[in-house]
């Protein structure tokens, strides 16, 4: 009887097979419907164009998410069924009075469980393979695709199953086992995000963005449930990682099972110390969630602290009630242990508040800074190849801005955000000489005190070279240049190499010499698109986003968009000289007259724009005045100040060519004079 002393017991395995044989059969049938049958049903569509889109999702977990739901539920359900004896009294007594070691019971049930989850997948994989061979689908899906699908499904099934089994060794009620399984699989990610969001409220300069934003890979690693929700493919390395994870769960579970006090079955959690963990965990999670809620809707620290107090109290006592399965939980003991929790949290918050670690005041010495990212957005930090400033002058300016922000801490602390024109965000990422990185972010702060320095940095050539790709392009790489005007439908395209060369140089000069204000002006003719010769590689996902679709060749090219500003006089002059100007943009000679009216709200502006001609507020057909209006209007009215000067341009047939508005700074004198009368 070699099995007798081993980790497996034939009798137990045979009995599980006898009582649960229906489970793998049902699972196989479901998988059959979800995979091979789906494939068969889509075969007729494969003659269409884009055949891959019809196959898509069956073997790579796309589509309607049925497979994800199966992975998340089937293994947990099986674990609950297989180990339900451990969560009840009578079956537990029966099983544990048998002449079988606990570890043997545990291992035997697990073996059955994993086979029940694995065999159906293998069978389904075989079916799929047969479908692939019979229907000759080799060009759409390979054996490797099928194997990978099977491997991912089996491994993730095992992870879910082992997690539920592991949880089962510490719980004493099946329902609790199920609920805690899902909580545990989601908790690391949820708790970390909540903690980071909450920390952001209390720690000046801290932002979850740097630490947790866009860290999908990290979240997937710590929370398998998140991975399954976003399942498409998993690398071989990760699969091995999950197998090791499952093995660790087995070893830990086996240990806990060994030490389990069976007399505590029917208690939600059979280990008393884990009960504390549960209570404090629930209290902490509730606290952080409430903090987030109050921060969002009340936006003040007293409210957040109030939320902390109420939610942690509720969470703690609800957890206590669940553990004791009773409403009579208000004893001195529970209040004391809640008090301990409260005290620890209070000390922690106080520590953050007085900046014990020096986080808020930390500013690297200038000689240690190698480079620094500095911007009012987070996006370019992630999407630029090298987003850092390296020139001493800029580093100095940036550090000064940062220093001032730290000194102004008292005014802006605790999520007290400013609103209006000067509101903005600033992000700092210092790359230090020793390889360290310091990240700080200040969101929703008043930028006006630092505006001069920000402008100085953003007027520097170093900045412009980062922000304007056109400065880094050579004429020989440019296929063509397209002028797209807002006002006229037809584009002007320049193919001539010499012309491209001249134009590119003019564009570069304009940008290099432009002031900060000019580069942020709202008066725009349209855009100048540079189409690059070299086709981008397919796998470069970041660049693919910026690809330009060329109507002529029906292909996507790498391209650069340059905003065509009205301040670019040299471009206008060049176009005029070459005789292209009237093809490129609207000219006064194309406009018969203009009409102007003022509005005091966006809604009114919108209404006025359509009926300017009828109302006849102000009209002129003077070409000089039309030119001035053309040069100064913007094709939107998103200003903070009212009234809005709405303007429309008409041709000789009374048709409206375009409309827009004047920023108050740029309203032509003759219009201003008319309306001020």
């Amino acid at each position: 009887m070699p099995l007798k002393t081993s980790l497996l017991n034939k009798g137990i395995i045979r009995n599980d097979l006898k009582t649960l044989y229906w489970f793998p059969i049902l699972y196989t049938v479901i998988l059959f419907f979800v995979v091979p049958l789906q494939l068969i049903s889509r075969i007729p569509h494969l003659k269409d164009s884009y055949p891959h889109s019809h196959i898509f999702g069956i073997l790579n977990f796309g589509g309607d998410g049925t497979q994800q739901v199966l992975i998340m539920t089937v293994p947990v359900l099986l674990a609950l069924i297989l180990f339900s004896y451990l969560q009840r009294k009578n079956p537990s007594d029966m099983f544990h009075s048998l002449p079988i070691r606990r570890r043997t019971l545990f291992t035997s049930h697990i073996l059955v469980g994993i086979s029940f989850l694995t065999v159906p997948v293998i069978v389904t994989g075989l079916f799929t393979w047969i479908v692939q061979i019979v229907s000759n689908l080799h060009s759409y899906l390979s054996l490797r695709d099928i194997l990978l699908w099977a491997a991912i499904t089996m491994v993730m099934n095992t992870v879910m199953f082992m997690s539920a089994v592991f949880v089962g060794t510490v719980t004493g009620i099946t329902l609790v086992q199920g609920v805690i399984t899902y909580i545990v699989l989601f908790l690391p990610m949820g708790l970390l995000s909540l903690a980071a969001y909450n920390l952001q409220m209390f720690l000046y300069g801290y932002s979850f963005r740097f630490h947790l934003g866009n860290k999908d890979g990290f979240f997937m690693a710590i929370s398998p449930l998140y991975r399954i929700l976003n399942l498409n493919s998993i690398s071989g390395k990760s699969l091995i990682g999950y197998i090791i994870f499952s093995a660790i769960l087995y070893i830990l579970g086996s240990y806990l099972y060994q030490r389990r006090r069976l007399e505590n079955n029917m208690q939600p959690i059979v280990y008393k110390n884990l009960g504390y963990f549960f209570k404090y965990g629930v209290a902490f999670s509730c606290m952080l969630t409430a903090g987030l809620y109050f921060a969002r809707f009340e936006k003040s620290i007293p409210w957040v602290v109030f939320g902390y107090l109420i939610a942690s109290f509720l969470g703690y006592f609800i957890a206590e009630g669940i553990l004791q399965k009773s409403f009579r939980i208000f004893s001195k003991k529970t209040f004391i242990s809640y008090g301990i929790y409260g005290a620890v949290v209070a000390i922690g918050l106080l520590g953050i508040n007085v900046d014990l670690t020096g986080y808020e005041k930390k500013l690297p010495p200038i000689e240690e800074i190698k480079g620094v990212y500095f911007a009012s957005n987070f996006y370019s930090y992630q999407h630029r190849e090298d987003p850092n400033f390296y020139e001493d002058e800029n580093i100095e300016l940036i550090r000064e801005v940062h220093e001032e922000i730290i000194m102004n801490k008292r005014d802006v602390k605790y999520n007290q955000r400013t609103y209006g024109r000067n509101r903005g965000d600033l992000y700092f990422v210092y790359q230090l000489e020793n390889g360290d990185e310091i990240t700080r972010s200040y969101e929703g702060i008043d930028l006006s005190p630092y505006q001069d320095k920000i402008e100085a940095v953003n007027s520097s050539i170093e900045y412009k070279k980062m922000a304007y790709d056109v400065l880094n392009v050579e004429a020989k790489d440019v296929e063509k240049i397209t002028f797209r005007s807002y006002e006229i439908a037809k584009d002007l395209v320049i193919y001539d190499l010499n012309e491209i060369d001249e134009l590119l140089q003019l564009l570069k000069d304009e940008i290099i010499n432009a002031t900060y204000e000019e580069l942020n002006d709202s008066r725009i003719w349209g855009s100048v698109d540079l189409l690059l010769k070299q086709k981008g590689t397919e796998d470069d996902s970041i660049r693919a986003e910026s690809k330009i679709y060329d109507k002529a060749t029906q292909e996507y090219y790498d391209g650069i968009n340059v905003t065509w500003r009205k301040s670019f006089d040299s471009i206008d002059a060049w176009l005029f000289e070459k005789g292209y100007l009237e093809e490129a943009r609207l000219l006064p000679k194309d406009v018969a007259f203009i009409a102007v009216d003022i509005a005091n709200s966006y809604e009114e502006a919108k209404k006025i724009a359509t009926s300017l001609r009828e109302n006849k507020q102000f009209e002129t057909s003077d070409k000089a005045e039309i030119d001035s209006a053309l040069q100064n209007y913007s094709n939107h009215w998103g200003y903070d100040n009212f009234p809005i000067y709405v303007v429309a341009f008409y041709d000789e047939n009374d048709n409206r060519i375009t409309y827009g508005s004047f920023d108050q700074k740029h309203v032509p004198e003759f219009i201003k004079a008319y309306f001020e009368e």
Binding site: L98, R261, E263
Partner: protein, 300 residues
């Protein structure tokens, strides 16, 4: 030999067993008597190796029971509330036991079918509670156990079946040197069955007795004399209880029956009766103060 030494067991905040000492000789039937909540089930489940001892030791034939499959194969536990797999027939269940216990004796299983007279193809869940208990005993006996631990085994059986089961167990004790530990909250149920009785009260054994000794050595004496006797006469005897109703004395005394009779005869009594004691009375007198505390609970 089954032995529990200084066995303690806590249920969270409650001390279920507080240093229990029990010794059960091989081939004997040990009755564990106690009220509900006295700790009987906890003690039995620890003896059966289901619960782990908090402190102290539990051993059978000199070996620790917990996580000892070889030993547990010979130790069968039948709990007070039984569990069978859903939808299983008696035959299915027998097959399960057969696959678990290498000691399973198919002949015995078939022989016992005649005794219990149950249809092996019937679903167990559909049987009455009493019948289910018979199934459990039947299956247990078919594994040829050396030790049987029974928690309230006679509950739910009719009197005919009760006697049948008792006889069967006694027969097994005689034939196979089977050792039985049986719990009950009812003394009368154990009276004609056990050779030893232990009383478990609030997590501790308060009394342990050999039934034969008990009945032999304790007597109820009714005696009356012409003239009152001095106290010294009584004090020289081993009296458990003394009461005077008019001129009639009532004694509960320990000792040899003839010696007691002879002793009183010397004082020329008007009346001298040696009366039999019921087991209940014996226990109550033996236990003194504790006896009065649990009298109402265990002796109905």
């Amino acid at each position: 030999m089954i032995e529990a030494k200084n066995l303690t067991k806590d249920f969270d905040d409650i001390e279920a067993l507080k240093g229990v000492n029990v010794v059960v000789e091989e081939g004997s039937i040990y009755g564990l008597l106690g009220s509900n909540g006295a700790g009987k089930t906890t003690l039995l489940k620890t003896l059966a190796g289901i619960y782990k001892e908090d402190s102290g030791e539990v051993s059978i034939f000199g070996e620790r029971v917990f996580e000892n499959p070889a030993l547990k194969e010979r130790v069968l536990f039948i709990p007070d509330s039984l569990y069978f797999f859903a939808g299983y027939t008696l035959k299915d269940m027998a097959e399960f036991y057969k696959s678990i216990y290498t000691t399973w004796n198919q002949e015995r299983y078939i022989t016992l079918q005649r005794v219990f007279n149950l249809d092996p193809n019937k679903k167990i869940m559909k049987l009455s509670k009493g019948m289910q208990r018979q199934v459990a005993i039947w299956l247990a006996l078919s594994t040829m156990p050396k030790v049987l631990i029974l928690d309230e085994p006679l509950d739910g059986l009719d009197s005919v079946m009760r006697q049948k089961v008792k006889n069967l167990l006694i027969q097994d004790v005689a034939d196979h040197q089977l050792t039985i530990i049986v719990s009950s909250h009812n003394l009368r149920e154990l009276e004609d069955f056990c050779d030893h009785i232990g009383i478990l009260h609030e997590g501790a054994i308060v009394l342990e007795k050999d039934m034969d000794d008990l009945k032999r050595d304790i007597h109820k004496i009714q005696v009356a004399f012409r003239s009152p006797l001095s106290e010294e006469v009584f004090n020289s005897m081993n009296l458990l209880y003394k009461e005077k109703r008019g001129s009639v004395y009532l004694f509960i005394a320990r000792g040899d029956k003839n010696a007691v009779t002879k002793y009183f005869a010397e004082f020329d009594p008007v009346l001298l009766d040696i009366l039999p004691l019921t087991l209940e009375e014996i226990f109550i007198y033996e236990m003194g103060d504790v006896g009065y505390a649990i009298e109402n609970i265990i002796i109905k």
